[in-house]
């Protein structure tokens, strides 16, 4: 009896489960995941048969994903962004009419949804559907929900877990000093050797010219030269 009733209830609600899974945008968008935002692909060509519906994005934690009730209404405080994640485990945001996600996907435009980009309404409880920055690194699960008025008409599957970046402290940056390069060692060594040779040569020069301690007297360094004047040659001739 009960299972039959449940089946009737489900079909009476007319909730279609679509097999689309929300994905993050491709790798060439560098800001696809930051510390408090992430970027999803738009659900183009998914809700084609629900032309009158409003498409909402459901963001939930693990508990929210398990406990989520598809009859959630966007304006209700139970599903407001400001109470997430302490008082509620899921919220609805980024509501748009279905025609915004029309098919086919335009060729050269970037069709993305940035979750977490609105900072001015993050503390404003009168805007419960605020697309505010996510409060922590997650992980989060998302899915799209199509609502016709207040009736849920279609829902996609839950995405995989989305874990945001956690920033490290700058003190953890390793090795701000550098190793000694070969060039610096070469310069130092060669210049030191040259200076030492110069000082040694200076000492040798000073000591050889003045008598600074031991100095051998070299005969050819004598400054007195033998002058052969004509007198020396004259005398033997005169004597002869």
């Amino acid at each position: 009896m009960h299972p039959l009733l449940l089946l009737l209830l489900a079909t009476a609600h007319g909730l279609d489960k679509l097999s689309y899974k929300p994905t993050l945008v491709g790798g060439n968008v560098e800001g696809r995941m930051t510390g408090s935002t992430f970027v999803l692909e738009q659900p183009r060509c998914v809700f084609d048969s629900y032309s009158t519906a409003n498409i909402w994005l459901v963001v939930a934690t693990r508990e929210g994903m398990d406990a989520f009730n598809d009859s959630a209404q966007p304006g209700m405080p139970e599903w407001s962004f400001q109470r997430f994640p302490t008082n509620t485990s899921a919220y609805l945001t980024l509501g748009a009419m279905q025609y915004h996600y029309g098919c086919p996907k335009p060729d050269r435009e970037l069709t993305v949804l940035r979750v977490g980009s609105e900072t001015d309404c993050a503390d404003n409880i009168s805007v419960p559907n605020c697309n505010g920055p996510l409060p922590g690194p997650g992980p989060y699960w998302v899915k799209f929900l199509a609502l016709n008025g207040s009736e849920p008409t279609a829902t996609t599957e839950w995405s995989g877990p989305i874990t945001l970046k956690t920033a490290r402290e700058p003190q953890s940056i390793p090795g701000t000093g550098g190793a000694r390069s070969g060039a610096m060692i070469a310069i130092t060594a060669i210049l030191s050797v040259l200076l030492a040779i110069l000082l040694a040569a200076l000492l040798a020069t000073l000591c050889s010219s003045e008598a600074c301690g031991v100095g051998s007297f070299r005969p050819d360094a004598a400054s007195i030269r033998r002058y052969n004047t004509h007198h020396v040659y004259d005398q033997p001739a005169a004597r002869l």
């Binding site: 930051t34 970037l110 920033a167 700058p170 060039a183 610096m184 030191s192 020069t205 052969n228």
Partner: protein, 299 residues
């Protein structure tokens, strides 16, 4: 070889009557004096060559001194505006090396002129003064080269990354000195990012991977990276702020600024170090030659 001041007196040709008197006995004396004369001529040539080489060496030193002064003035004038970054790391000794280079260049010019005068006059005192002062200058220039080469090795990417994260747009500064350094770093990075179209040290993800002083005052959703990383139009506004925040190629600068920093600093360090090294090698040879010349001068 002796470099005498007075020329030897060849007395056989001293007076005509003495020559007629001695007749053929003057011939040996003549031969000896000719031999002495030839040897003097050869040593004269040797002296001249030695003097010429030393003068040439000193001329080259003088010109290199002027070039060193000019190069170091160019570096000290900081055309790329990177000095505040080094000042904030308290590691600005490359600039100290350039300052020493300016004065060493002047000293080399003055001493080379002294050396040329000393060699031409063959004066022992002048040359001794020249040698001693050149050795002092040599020591200073050696210090400058080694300083430039050593401190260049400290300038790694992580050094600039850490400084950028800790100082860029820091709002709570401890004292006046800290405030000045912070303002210098902030202004320098802003100029760097705008003029070189770059972002961060390795890239914009530096701002995402690490917490920073910038992150304290600018939230992550509005400023995943500073707005100076965005591609700007002619009025210095981002052409598409949402595209920049998303990180779409074409609306933000994805390359890092490390090349723009390390290029000029490397050129400065290696310019001072290697040019100084070359000058010192040449000076070494000239000084050895001068000492040899000095030891051969007779009083």
């Amino acid at each position: 070889m002796k470099i005498g001041k007075a020329r030897k007196n060849i007395s056989c040709f001293g007076s005509a009557e003495l020559m007629r008197e001695r007749g053929k006995n003057c011939l040996p004396a003549l031969y000896l004096s000719l031999h002495e004369g030839l040897k003097m001529a050869k040593t004269d040539n040797g002296i001249r060559i030695c003097q010429g080489l030393l003068i040439l060496g000193n001329v080259v030193i003088g010109m290199c001194g002027i070039a060193l002064t000019a190069e170091c003035i160019f570096f000290v004038s900081d055309p790329h505006g990177l000095y505040p970054l080094l000042e904030a790391t308290e590691n600005n000794d490359i600039y100290a090396a350039a300052w020493i280079g300016i004065f060493v260049g002047f000293a080399l010019l003055a001493l080379s002129i002294l050396g040329i005068v000393g060699v031409m006059k063959s004066s022992k005192t002048l040359l001794l003064v020249y040698i001693i002062l050149m050795l002092i200058t040599y020591a200073f220039e050696m210090a400058s080269c080694i300083t430039a080469a050593t401190h260049r090795d400290f300038l790694t990417p992580n050094l600039f990354l850490k400084q950028m994260l800790e100082r860029y747009m820091k709002s709570d500064t401890d004292n006046n000195n800290d405030k000045q350094m912070t303002e210098g770093v902030t202004k320098t990075w802003d100029n760097l990012m705008l003029q070189n179209q770059c972002c961060g040290v390795h890239g914009p993800l530096d701002w995402q991977e690490y917490t920073s002083a910038f992150r304290m005052t600018h939230n992550d959703a509005d400023y995943p990276w500073p707005h100076n990383c965005c591609v700007m139009n002619t009025r210095s506004e981002p052409i598409n702020l949402d595209g920049c925040k998303l990180g779409v190629p074409g609306f933000y600068n994805s390359n890092g600024c490390y090349d723009a920093i390390s290029g000029p600093l490397n050129r400065q360090a290696w310019g001072v170090a290697w040019f100084g090294f070359a000058i010192l090698c040449w000076t070494f040879c000239v000084l050895l030659g001068t000492m040899f010349y000095w030891s051969r001068i007779a009083y």
